[in-house]
């Protein structure tokens, strides 16, 4: 996308559909044991990453935690490469070496996929440092969960970003839980956004189930950062419909709570907005959904048919110069 251009909202709706259908399929393939290890789904949170990418340029930097499939898809990593990564195949976005929690796509400026809680927040600050160092007008978007804000790395990183006035948006995807621990039980603050104040970083809260609200808020922040580099903090209130990972039955929350959020579904909401405004018909929506499902099915097929990473290459990605010390 070029500067000043607005992303087409119908396109963003289809991105959200792609993410949802991808995650549903991933869940099914996990149960069929085609996918191993830990696998964290993004269902319910689609408007956050969709709103974010709609607000920035394609060459801005994005980095996130382990709930990362959607961030890669939103960045333009193909569903094929994402599914192949889950299958551990050579055609995956990390050559089958990273897995669900470690998606990377350099070409599309998706810098991971990081599985140690908050360990990537300092990395994001480093990326923002490099932007300023080179005098560019890019911005770094750093996504993390509500659970990350109590790690030392997070606090140190925020201070550094504020101290050096770096071009970065800290985006806290507050889905109310870190595994089985609710924010109330993990954090001494009434609201997460107040963390930013302690570092003199401007903060806002937005409704993460509302695509437009997320997009507009981030667009405004990014606009001001491009004029004069500085950090900003956004607490995005959202919800994950599924358990923390595939093995979590999520018995720490009530059905009623889940239902409440489902009624506020981000896809349904954007669809309704567009339909009301005459920008989307039911037929169109069904077509988009069908497309998303087909793309994902094709991705499963692609992943299945892709080759395993060859055993001979086991040592090829340990040292950049191929050294075997």
């Amino acid at each position: 996308m070029q500067p000043g251009e607005q992303r087409d909202e119908v396109e963003m709706l289809s991105l959200m559909l792609l993410i949802r259908r991808f995650e549903e399929r991933a869940s099914q393939q996990y149960q069929a044991q085609k996918i191993g290890g830990f696998c964290h789904l993004y269902i319910g949170q689609e408007a956050v990453v969709a709103g974010a990418v709609a607000a920035v340029r394609d060459d801005d930097y994005i980095i996130t935690a382990y709930r990362d499939h959607a961030h890669a898809l939103a960045r333009g990593t193909s569903a094929d490469a994402c599914m192949a990564e889950l299958f551990g195949k050579e055609t995956g976005c990390s050559r089958g070496l990273g897995g669900s929690m470690h998606f990377f796509d350099r070409k599309n400026h998706m810098y991971g996929g990081h599985a140690i809680v908050a360990a990537h927040v300092p990395l994001a600050v480093g990326m923002a440092f490099a932007i300023k160092y080179r005098g560019e007008d890019r911005v770094t978007l750093c996504f993390f969960g509500d659970g990350a804000i109590n790690q030392g790395a997070f606090h140190e990183a925020l201070n550094l970003a504020a101290l050096y006035k770096l071009p970065i948006v800290f985006i806290c995807e507050n889905n109310l839980f870190a595994m089985g621990t609710s924010v109330k039980r993990s954090t001494s603050l009434k609201q997460i956004v107040d963390r930013a104040e302690g570092y003199d970083i401007p903060g806002e809260i937005v409704d993460g189930m509302n695509f437009r609200e997320v997009r507009d808020e981030i667009a405004e922040i990014v606009d001001s950062i491009r004029k004069e580099p500085h950090p900003a903090f956004l607490e995005v209130r959202t919800y994950r419909y599924r358990g923390h990972s595939m093995s979590d039955p999520a018995s720490y929350r009530t059905k009623k709570e889940l239902e409440k959020y489902r009624l506020d579904d981000p896809i349904t909401r954007l669809r309704a907005q567009l339909t009301r405004e005459g920008k989307l018909t039911n037929e169109q929506f069904d077509r988009l959904d069908k497309q998303a499902k087909e793309t994902v099915l094709a991705a499963v097929k692609f992943a299945e048919q892709s080759p395993q990473p060859p055993l001979e290459k086991l040592y090829d990605y340990t040292y950049a110069d191929g050294a075997k010390p």
Binding site: G99, I116, G147, M179, G180, T187, P309
Partner: protein
């Protein structure tokens, strides 16, 4: 004796030590309300209450340090890492504060703390979540490190660790939580000393030295080798530090051939230390060079086939045994 799982054995050890000593408390992520990420602390919150079974935010450096501080003033913390891969976030507390305090204070402050949790590669968890940390920690003076492989050893070693007046790491085997074994009944006190290896199987042709997740592997391989008329003795180190030199030397003096199978990396791995001590002390007992089977020296790949290629496995172990036996 009755049969219980490794997970239950640890749970019993925790409960018994909490019961015995009011200064003992358990702290970590999801240990209380969630009943433990791997259900090791199941039921403990209900039994001992939130004063002693304490959920934390995701702040490993913080709560590991809290444990060290509490230990300085007389409590006996048990700090659970959801896995030891996450203990790396708390490396400073475990490596710098816990073991140095006694020396730095001229013997005024010993740190009776237990750090415990799953350790070692599990299944397809990728590079960040598959660390075998035993060789990192065993290289630090002031720390003790044990690696139980059976329910009985898990219970006995954990209870001993809690009573030890030094920082002790109990590195539980992530893949063995559901494995079963015979353990003394709860009314019989079970304490297994640190620094005592255990011969898990007697043999005469070769000593296979192993620990943690490589113990079941070695036992399986020993059964296979039996059919080929190779009699393997299985020495489970149980503790990495202190290391039971005597048990190792006794076995090697009998068999004259050694394979070390370890779950960590080859470079400066546990086996390197064991190997060094054998050749230094009983060089003449050896009839063949010692071979180590370890992980490959690469970050753990996610792909299942590559992961299998990285880990020690039966094929590699059998080949190594045949090599030292010139078979």
């Amino acid at each position: 004796m009755r049969e219980i799982t490794y997970r239950q054995a640890l749970n019993e050890a925790l409960a018994e030590e909490l019961e015995r000593d009011p200064n003992v408390f358990l702290m970590g992520e999801e240990v209380a309300e969630y009943q433990g990420a791997y259900k090791v602390s199941q039921g403990l919150l209900q039994r001992f209450g939130p004063r002693r079974i304490i959920d934390t935010p995701i702040s490993e450096n913080g709560f590991a340090g809290l444990g060290v501080g509490a230990a300085m003033v007389g409590l006996r913390p048990i700090i659970e890492f959801m896995t030891f891969s996450f203990s790396l976030v708390a490396f400073d507390q475990v490596v710098n504060n816990a073991p140095n305090m006694f020396t730095m204070s001229g013997g005024q402050f010993n740190i009776p703390i237990t750090f415990r949790g799953p350790n070692g590669p599990a299944h397809q968890l990728g590079a960040t979540h598959s660390h075998a940390t035993e060789n990192f920690y065993a290289s630090v003076p002031g720390l003790k490190v044990c690696t139980p492989a059976t329910p009985r050893d898990a219970k006995g070693l954990l209870k001993t660790a809690v009573r030890d007046d030094n920082p002790v790491l109990v590195l539980e085997a992530e893949l063995l939580y559901s494995s079963k074994g015979m353990v003394e009944p709860p009314d019989e006190e079970l304490l297994i000393p640190l620094g005592k290896a255990d011969v898990k199987r007697e043999g005469s042709d070769v000593s296979i030295i192993c620990y943690a997740q490589t113990v079941p592997l070695a036992l399986k391989v020993a059964a296979q080798l039996e059919e080929e008329d190779i009699s393997a003795e299985i020495v489970d180190l149980r503790s990495i530090k202190p290391l039971d030199e005597k048990a190792i030397f006794d076995s090697v003096t009998k068999t004259h051939r050694v394979v070390i199978v370890e779950q960590d990396h080859p470079f400066c791995g546990v086996g390197a230390e064991v190997c060094y001590r054998i050749q230094k002390n009983i060089f003449d007992a050896l009839d063949a060079p010692i071979i180590r089977v370890s992980q490959e020296d690469v970050p753990m790949p996610y792909n299942e086939r590559l992961e299998h290629a990285v880990l020690p496995n039966a094929e590699k172990l059998i080949a190594a045994v045949k090599q030292v036996c010139y078979a």
